[in-house]
């Protein structure tokens, strides 16, 4: 099968979709599902069927994440010749009203907006930010559930990686094709040499989205220049940071995009086999990626002759079994090989000796998902977004003490203030902002005075945090910082693989000191010891886990020193000096 056939399939799907007067999109990503989206989807389906209207009046589509997870389940209605309308906090009871409002009748009573859903519209159900925003304008009960699409939450975002999530059915290859899917792959195979592809990615300025920010094009070039019989591509979907779920969302909601990026990468570096390493905690992502691989294989997008060319590539899924350290590339390689996921000293880097000693590219899910857009729209377009050294967009999982939480994609260089107050809607319950935590257990806390810092790799590192994979947890003044630092240290103690001593022993000792401090039994000397020990662990650990484990302590010590000081018993320092 060549690309023209795929284009035909996409075209057919597009014209099929355009026949519908309106399409009702129901978010069925994990967050909305846990808020009850499964039932919502079923009752939407039933309500539309009960209308007994013409088949082409309405179609209910299961989609992925629409972003505003805190208001889930979300339902979006797109009617021809009118603006899309987004409903939040949709209960199964409410679906009838939504359908009655938008879908013309064939059966049940018409234009009902007023009645019976008192049980679904209790004040508790209406998030107050929206309630206050809309209550005044709301003409009907149903209107109160409308989320205005001109909220800064939506308008401040720039969607590249997430451009199709929430708009397509992730289980349907046709839907991806209808939105221009695999066009980039066809273009690459027909018009570009592997070297061209590497250069294009290099020029775009794309950097690894796993957190370290290594230029992707450079990495690909290293592997391309290796002469070896076997080369591998690994997509790192072992999203271990607590508070981060960007990669899961991309894999679940737009799996073909990840696959397309991966195949393009394989072509660019000359690999014929690839693995997607996915966290075992993400069964739905595993399922969707597997489905996508099967569909792509059936359409000859994967296999011995990719799109009818002589380029051959196969992909398989490997399931991680819950080890944070496997996010580190050499540990991940060991895990794919079926061993204990322990890191090793680099060099040699995986680009020269990786999986089964063959040259290997390892990229994060989000990095791969950027690739099709870069090829489609050009390196210059991509490089025009963002700051001088950090190009493009970044997906963040926005969580914590915020009015709007969910999945966002913002251009690099946006300030934290814009994210917290415009997109996030500020801190609820009359509390005050205290810190923004980026990078999970490897990152740090950024206090209020640095809220105007642009979000890019260098600025965040300068503040003692890291970009990380995209977890962004906002905390208010109810949070105690030493306790918060201890939470992350607890995590690192648990997740340290035990190979090198600074990390295995050091993290435990840091936690002991923190616990002593929190219990109010520490003296100033302990505080010094804490600082010294953190330095030691940072500089002498083998891999990224240990090297960055003290970051939460460092940053809280730096910016919230007073909270540590108040816990210290100054007098004991002198008395216990000898012990």
């Amino acid at each position: 099968m060549n690309f023209d056939t795929l284009e035909d399939i996409g075209h057919k799907e597009r014209s099929r979709q355009s026949k519908y007067q309106r399409r009702i999109f129901c978010c069925t990503s994990t967050a909305c599902l846990s808020a009850g989206a499964g039932q919502v989807h079923t009752s939407l389906d039933q309500a539309v069927a009960a209308c007994k209207c013409d088949k082409h009046e309405a179609e209910v589509v299961k989609t992925g994440c629409m972003g505003l997870c805190s208001e889930g389940p979300l339902v979006r209605v797109e009617e021809k010749e009118s603006d899309p309308i987004l409903y939040g906090n949709v209960s199964p009871d409410l679906t009838q009203n939504i359908v009655s409002r938008h879908v013309p009748m064939g059966g049940i009573e018409g234009e009902t907006d007023n009645e019976e859903q008192d049980h679904s519209v209790t004040p508790h159900d209406i998030p107050y930010n929206r309630a206050s925003l809309r209550q005044a304008q709301a003409k009907t009960e149903l209107d109160k559930f409308i989320i205005p699409l001109n909220l800064p939450f939506f308008t401040k975002q720039v969607k590249v990686v997430l451009s199709e999530t929430g708009r397509i059915n992730p289980d349907k290859l046709e839907d991806y094709l209808a939105h221009g899917g695999y066009r980039a792959l066809a273009h690459v195979l027909e018009e570009m040499t592997p070297e061209d592809v590497c250069n294009e990615i290099l020029e775009s300025g794309l950097r690894g989205r796993g957190g370290a920010g290594f230029p992707t094009g450079l990495k690909w070039n290293f592997v391309r220049q290796e002469s070896a019989d076997n080369k591998f591509v690994i997509v790192n979907g072992d999203e271990g940071d607590p508070g981060a779920y960007m990669d899961r969302t991309v894999m679940e909601d737009d799996p073909h995009r990840v696959l397309e990026g991966m195949i393009i990468c394989a072509y660019a570096v000359g690999a014929s086999y690839g693995y997607l390493y996915i966290r075992g905690e993400y069964p739905m992502a595993i399922d969707r990626i597997r489905k996508a691989i099967r569909a792509a294989t059936r359409r000859k997008i994967l296999g011995n002759s990719v799109l009818g060319t002589n380029f051959r590539f196969k992909a398989d899924v490997r399931i991680g079994a819950g080890a944070f350290v496997c996010g580190e590339e050499t540990a991940l390689i060991h895990s794919v090989e079926g061993k204990r996921g322990m890191p090793r000293i680099r060099p040699p880097y995986p680009s020269t000796s990786g999986l089964w000693k063959a040259p290997t590219v390892i990229n994060n899910v989000e990095t791969m998902a950027n690739v099709p857009s870069i090829i489609n729209r050009g390196a210059n377009w991509y490089a025009s977004i963002g700051t001088e050294k950090s190009k493009g967009t970044k997906v963040f999982a926005l969580a914590g003490h915020l009015r709007n939480t969910g999945l966002i994609e913002v251009p690099m260089g946006i300030t934290l203030r814009e994210i917290v107050y415009d997109i996030g809607g500020g801190i609820p319950d009359g509390r005050a902002f205290k810190a923004a935590q980026t990078g999970g257990p490897s990152g740090g806390c950024i206090p209020e005075e640095y809220l105007d810092t642009p979000v890019d790799y260098e600025s965040l590192t300068k503040l003692g945090s890291i970009m990380g994979s995209g977890g962004l947890v906002i905390i208010d003044d109810s949070t105690n910082m030493p306790d918060f630092a201890n939470f992350f240290m607890d995590f690192c103690v648990d997740e340290s693989c035990g190979k090198c001593i600074p990390c295995r022993v050091g993290t435990v000792q840091i936690r002991k000191l923190l616990e002593k401090l929190i219990a109010g039994q520490a003296d100033t000397e302990d505080l010094e010891k804490l600082d010294e020990l953190c330095q030691l662990v940072k500089t002498t650990s083998l891999c990224g886990l240990g090297q960055s484990a003290p970051n939460p302590v460092f940053s809280t010590l730096k910016y919230f020193r007073n909270e540590y000081d108040t816990l210290v018993q100054p007098s004991q320092a002198v008395e216990a000096g000898g012990s």
Binding site: A35, P242, G243, E281, R340, A399, G471
Partner: protein
């Protein structure tokens, strides 16, 4: 004892008498009994049996021809493998960053006080297990729990308490009922 390596067929009874082994055999066969497939096989075993018993690990070690020490080493390295049967009801409480700052500890405390179990433990009657997850990735709904496969968001200690008590007492009643009938 080495168990021979048959190519499992549908409907065939496994020599051990336990047909669940067939599905593990199938996984191993898919990977051509390669040593590299150890993690995948352990994943399959955990899924089918719910936990990895000593016998199971020995079986996998024999079939893949991987030393037992290595099988044990890999199995104990990863958090998702458990070595004891789980309770009939399992409540996973997410302790990710977002859930932590929104009070996941209080949820854990409520359950561990009620059932007198620590995180990772099962009640002696085998009815309830309390598990902690590092992050379930539903941070927008923090704090999040998963009770018997069903996810609940924006939980309070009281709500979790009621949910779990309901589930467990249902089982207790059923148990009492079957004993009466029996």
């Amino acid at each position: 004892m080495t168990i021979p390596k048959p190519a499992p067929k549908e409907g065939e009874v496994h020599p051990s008498g336990d047909d669940r082994y067939l599905s593990i055999d199938r996984t191993m066969k898919r990977f051509n009994y390669e040593k590299d497939s150890l993690l995948e096989v352990l994943n399959a075993a955990q899924e089918v049996f719910g936990y990895l018993s000593g016998d199971l690990l020995i079986y996998i070690s024999n079939q893949l021809n991987v030393p037992m020490s290595q099988v044990y080493g890999v199995a104990t390295f990863y958090h998702m493998f458990t070595f004891e049967p789980q309770g009939e009801h399992n409540c996973i409480i997410c302790k990710g960053t977002a859930c932590h700052v929104k009070g996941a500890d209080r949820l854990i405390q409520a359950l561990s006080e009620e059932f007198n179990v620590d995180a990772g433990e099962t009640t002696p009657d085998g009815l309830f297990s309390l598990t902690i997850a590092r992050c379930l990735g539903s941070c927008g709904l923090a704090p999040v729990i998963v009770l018997d496969g069903q996810v609940y968001g924006k939980e309070t200690p009281e709500a979790v308490h009621t949910r779990v008590i309901e589930a467990v007492s249902r089982s207790k009643e059923e148990l009492a009922h079957t004993m009466e009938v029996g």
